[in-house]
């Protein structure tokens, strides 16, 4: 892992003030490089092969088939993972149904709360292990897994634990009842966190769960299964089955399931909606986005640039709510572009396990191809590309942080979700135009607004058609804060009181 280009000593004595710059001083100036700071991974105890977690036991897949999961930073195989087929899905749903009928639906709410508290604490206790595993399996920087993904996952369980025995206070004048068995399918960008977002509210409300993690990132969900075992959660309340898209489809389509929750691409979300058509299954979807990050000329510009960088390069841009379109007021376009370009050069791309890495590996070869294809369309369409200049490791999947200027709404890179570290920069002149452009997309997951003027913040926020509006900040998450989209970014909310709604029947 090498440093960004070495900076040259460009010394200009201050007003000829040689007292400040002696030759000895000049001789001392040299680049200061950070040494590798790798996080240890030798204690991880990764098994060579993992089975399916069904009914509180580890069961071999009926087909006997396994697939491999690799480390996208090195392309090495980490472990073999069981592939669940329709028969396994059937077993898992059966186990969840049995657990629901036999004890979970009758389990006193205070007990549900205590189980969830236990899981929350255990995640916190094993947080370092989970963070390293997450980084190794998915390619995200250890700094992010350690400081964001894992603590937030623990907090999610802690938050929803507290609701389990207070549901009548969340939904006054009702006796909220669980739905039954929830089928939950999650993506590869925040594997452990998405598992927490799904399992915690479902259990808090008294449902049982069959969770299918993403194909490329099963390991932390499987470690969560171990934690769930450790917490003595009754068998079958949570079942975790690994597999590919077909496994997910089988799960969502299973007749024994009362509720389906899916986070992933809009395309697959629509398929799932079609599969649930004509059934009484309750459905929530959290899909893609093409969020606008709007920067006004009266924004605190340095912090706005931080927000832009965070918005699109956090987690390599593998974020549904990424601020992938920068809408900057034309009068400050050049200043912002320059600040952004300069700021990007200090992003460190490389070994995800290095504590100083800011941008990790792209999750898979397939995803890398998608990013490359879309970015190339930007070049072909005549947009101007800016990219960080840094060395990349020889093996693994990598993409340098990139932004395009001169982008218009009709360019593909302004409309299609890239899901990578590629930002499209467009300009606007008036607030109305900014709002119009921001809303001009079939999506509606998130948006950012940057202005120092409070009233403008409130006004613009009220006009944006997005489920999450970040004013003078970006990518802020909290278990108490509802998250979810408008229109083709999906429906239903996760987090907060609103996050309980999808998992209950609210009846008087």
């Amino acid at each position: 892992m090498t440093e960004a280009r070495k900076t040259k000593a460009a010394i200009r004595p201050a007003n000829g003030r040689l007292a400040m710059t002696t030759p000895a001083d000049l001789a001392r100036i040299e680049a200061w490089e950070y040494a590798p700071a790798p996080e240890a991974r030798d204690y991880l105890a990764i098994q060579p092969r993992y089975e399916l977690f069904i009914g509180g036991r580890w069961r071999k897949p009926k087909s006997g088939r396994h697939f491999t999961t690799i480390n996208p930073a090195t392309e090495e195989t980490i472990a073999e993972i069981a592939e669940a087929d329709a028969a396994d899905v059937d077993r898992a749903v059966g186990a969840a149904r049995a657990a629901y009928d036999k004890y979970w639906r009758r389990c006193p709410p205070a007990h549900r709360a205590k189980y969830l508290f236990r899981i929350a604490r255990a995640i916190a206790e094993r947080s370092r292990e989970l963070a390293v595993l997450e980084s190794v399996d998915g390619g995200k920087p250890i700094k992010e897994a350690r400081d964001f993904d894992v603590p937030l996952a623990a907090q999610h369980f802690f938050y929803y634990a507290g609701w389990a025995d207070k549901l009548e206070w969340a939904f006054p004048n009702t006796r909220p009842r669980p739905l039954g068995v929830a089928a939950q399918i999650i993506p590869w960008n925040f594997p452990l966190l998405m598992a927490a977002w799904k399992i915690a509210p479902a259990l808090a409300c008294g449902n049982t769960v069959v969770l299918k993690p993403a194909e490329t990132t099963p390991l932390t969900a499987l470690r969560l299964a171990e934690i769930i075992e450790q917490a003595d959660l009754p068998p079958g309340v949570v079942n975790i089955i690994t597999g590919s898209g077909a496994t997910g489809a089988a799960l969502a389509g299973h007749r024994g399931v009362d509720k389906v929750a899916f986070t992933g691409s809009t395309e697959v979300g629509k398929e799932i909606a079609r599969a649930c058509a004509g059934t009484s299954k309750r459905l929530t979807l959290e899909l893609g986005g093409k969020a606008a990050n709007i920067v006004f000329d009266d924004a605190p510009l340095e912090q706005a640039v931080e927000g832009i960088v965070n918005g699109i390069f956090f987690n390599q841009g593998h974020v549904c709510c990424a601020g992938s379109r920068l809408l900057v007021q034309e009068s400050v376009h050049d200043v912002v572009a320059e600040l952004l370009h300069r700021r990007m050069q200090t992003l460190r791309v490389g070994d995800p396990l290095d504590k100083n890495t800011d941008v990790g590996a792209i999750n898979s070869a397939a995803q890398l191809r998608k990013i490359e294809e879309l970015a190339q369309s930007g070049d072909a369409d005549g947009c101007t590309r800016f990219q960080t200049e840094c060395d990349l490791p020889a093996r693994g999947f990598w993409y340098r942080p990139t932004f395009f200027t001169g982008v218009s709404m009709s360019h593909r890179i302004a409309q299609e979700e890239i899901f990578g570290p590629v930002l499209s920069v467009l300009t606007f002149r008036t607030p109305d135009e900014a709002v119009e452009k921001a809303n001009n997309t079939p999506y509606g997951l998130s948006a950012g607004v940057w202005t120092d003027k409070g009233s403008k913040n409130f006004k613009i926020a009220s006009q944006l058609r997005a489920g999450v509006v970040w004013s003078n900040t970006f990518n802020k998450f909290d278990p108490s804060s509802p998250f979810g989209g408008y229109r083709e970014s999906g429906f239903g909310r996760e987090g907060g009181i609103h996050g309980l709604l999808p998992y209950i029947e609210a009846r008087p």
């Binding site: 400040m20 200061w32 510009l301 912090q303 120092d452």
Partner: protein, 291 residues
């Protein structure tokens, strides 16, 4: 005027503070830090004898390791400039003197100018002045500025560091504004604090000031350095400041020409960290001289 969002600024500073500086990078960084220290002795009870001992430490921080750089400067009260000059004769270590009714600045401009001239006449290479915070908060910015310009004039060949006393300024917007003002008035360095009140230097404050200095150089072509002072006692903190300098302004600012740390006990902590890197064992401060 560039406005500053405090929440965003503090998040960025906290993020930079997370950089993991290990092994050769740590040793290299600690050596840079030593070279950037203004070793400070500012007590009412200081005497020429005491100052001589301080200067000895400044020249050879660790008698067991002659490869270490000397510090950038010593920082003393005006009445002790001669003593410091004498003790540092023949060396590259500069003598910085506080002036302008340090630390409060509550005195007449005539007195402040006179004090500055005397210190320079006694041989001070650098003057650390304080801005008039009263005038600043009263909105009399022109007055604040003209005072700096006058002191700069009085400095003659000596370099001028302008202490903003950020702990009294209240907001990061004010820190940015005061930085801007001082640089426009001719400061060679902008400095965070007198070290006599809390809060003194903090990572977010340093970040704002470095951003301001970087932008000032881009606009005017003139580079003004940044000094952080007050409350910096741990080597780890010094490294965090170096990270902020590097990632905000660039590697070429990592030199006493453009970056200073006003400190006293920090030096020994740095030495202890260097010995720990060398031997693998955690150190006791009893093995390092307290001058």
């Amino acid at each position: 005027m560039m406005t500053v969002d405090a929440v965003g600024l503090e998040e960025r500073a906290a993020d930079l503070a997370k950089r993991s500086i290990k092994k050769h990078a740590k040793i290299h960084g600690l050596r840079i830090a030593i070279a950037c220290i203004d070793l400070t002795g500012l007590e009412g009870k200081d005497t020429p004898g005491r100052v001589a001992q301080l200067c000895r430490k400044a020249l050879t921080p660790d008698s067991r390791d002659p490869t270490l750089p000397h510090v950038a400067a010593v920082c003393v009260y005006p009445s002790l400039v001669s003593a410091a000059k004498k003790a540092l004769e023949g060396s590259d270590v500069k003598v910085a003197s506080v002036a302008t009714a340090f630390p409060s600045g509550q005195s007449s401009i005539a007195v402040k100018i006179e004090e500055t001239k005397e210190a320079v006449a006694d041989g001070a290479d650098e003057i650390d002045m304080v801005i008039d915070r009263g005038a600043f908060h009263a909105g009399r910015f022109r007055e604040v500025r003209s005072e700096i310009e006058a002191v700069k004039q009085a400095c003659g060949p000596a370099a001028l560091k302008v202490i903003l006393e950020t702990g009294e300024l209240g907001t990061y917007d004010n820190v940015r504004r005061a930085s801007q003002l001082a640089m426009e008035a001719g400061a060679d360095f902008i400095k965070t604090s007198t070290g006599k009140i809390a809060p003194a230097a903090t990572l977010p404050v340093a970040l704002v000031m470095l951003q301001a200095a970087r932008d000032f150089e881009r606009r005017t072509g003139r580079r003004v350095g940044v000094k952080v002072a007050g409350g910096i006692r741990a080597a780890k903190q010094a490294l965090q400041y170096l990270v902020i300098v590097k990632e905000t302004c660039g590697d070429d600012w990592l030199s006493p020409a453009w970056f200073r740390i006003g400190a006293s006990s920090l030096l020994n902590d740095i030495l202890m960290q260097l010995w720990k890197e060398r031997t693998g064992a955690y150190q006791s401060d009893e093995y390092f001289t307290k001058d």
